[in-house]
Amino acid sequence: MDKKSNQTDQARRRFFGQVAAVASLTVAPGVILQQVAHARSPEEPASDKNRWGILINTNKCAEGCDACVTACQDEYGWGPNGPETRSSDLQKAQWIRKVKLTDKQTGHVQTLPLMCQHCEHPPCVDVCPTGASMKRADGIVLVDKHICIGCRYCMMACPYKARSFIHEELHDQKVNAPRGKGTVESCTLCVQRVDAGRQPACVEACPEQAMIFGDLKDPESAISRELRENGGEQIRADLGLNTGIRYQGL
């Protein structure tokens, strides 16, 4: 190899090195952001730097499909195959349900999954006499069953009918879902999955990828980008609850 080609070689190497450095810089922020948004060490508490939400595209939500509902039932052990044997269908837990909307004029049919909307200003928390109904720092609305007295004020206050009450003694609950007689429960946004950097079970199960889970406070998250570009509505936005669950195509 002569001297000139050797120099060229070095110049090429420098060039590729620089390109690689730039490329890693441009790739790295996205990657790192993703990690910050999704992975938290077990010792670290949930923080108000995040606000978790789901964006649901009702145009992709197929009529007759209930993959999200069955995924939730499998994950938390409620529903027709759940441990509740003596409760009526109206009494049984319903963490997430499929709702069908028909436009009477045009006959257009839409379906959408409806669950706890994880409001910023949750009426269930307002009315709870014991503080059991609570909102975590990252916006996830939960029931602290340790101090729930089963008064069901929250069930009446919720405009989305998202909460249910357990009417009978239960056994063999799922480890992730302690459930017992005399307490109210609802969608937890799969809080233990979120804490582990995973997606909620319904989002994961949707065969149409109609649901996007993410951090509403991170402007670069997929859900924020989609909301910014194509918008998204709240159900009963007139109530001013600022829900964490948003819908497109309503």
Binding site: E43, P45, A137, D144, H171, Q173, D195
Partner: protein, 165 residues
């Protein structure tokens, strides 16, 4: 620690709780506390020494439940599910003893001491079938116990007693 020693400890605790020291008599009925399935001793590692757990487990659990549910802190040391994964009693029919049966780890002492707990009205009283730890090798604390800097490592009882709250 043998079952006999453990029983005597429980008798003592029960006697103090009920303010009936007369019951703390070797001739009284003994609470039979089953050994944890995995070897949960300081060497293989319950998360705290036995003496400390016996006295303070309720405080640890109470703090942990609020930390986990309300703040999202999901450390494993005082997670009830992790306790249940080790403290299990298999029965001849292949099932695990349930809370309320005298073989269940928690029942055995709580029945004897007449202290009613409602943990298992909601929480599962038997281990997650996928996470049963039959041997010390499967005990997650065993690895931690090797590290003397970790709370699960071997530590003097005096260092932990009374720091629950």
């Amino acid at each position: 620690m043998t079952v006999g020693q453990l029983s005597r400890q429980c008798i003592l605790a029960a006697g103090l709780l009920l303010a009936l020291p007369a019951l703390a008599d070797e001739t009284g009925p003994l609470a039979v506390v089953p050994k944890p399935r995995a070897e949960a001793n300081p060497e293989f590692g319950c998360v705290r020494p036995e003496e400390d757990m016996r006295k303070h487990h309720m405080d640890y659990l109470m703090v942990h439940r609020d930390d986990t549910l309300r703040r999202g802190i999901r450390t494993r040391d005082f997670s009830l599910a992790e306790c249940v994964n080790c403290h299990i009693t298999p029965k001849p029919d292949g099932q695990y003893a349930r809370f309320g049966e005298k073989e269940h780890f928690c029942s055995s002492c709580h029945t004897y001491a007449a202290v009613r707990i409602d943990c298992f009205e909601c929480h599962r009283d038997t281990p997650d079938p996928e996470k049963v730890r039959e041997t010390a090798q499967q005990n997650p604390h065993r690895g931690l116990a090797a590290d003397s800097n970790h709370p699960a490592g071997i530590m003097p009882v005096s260092a932990t007693v009374g720091e629950a709250r």
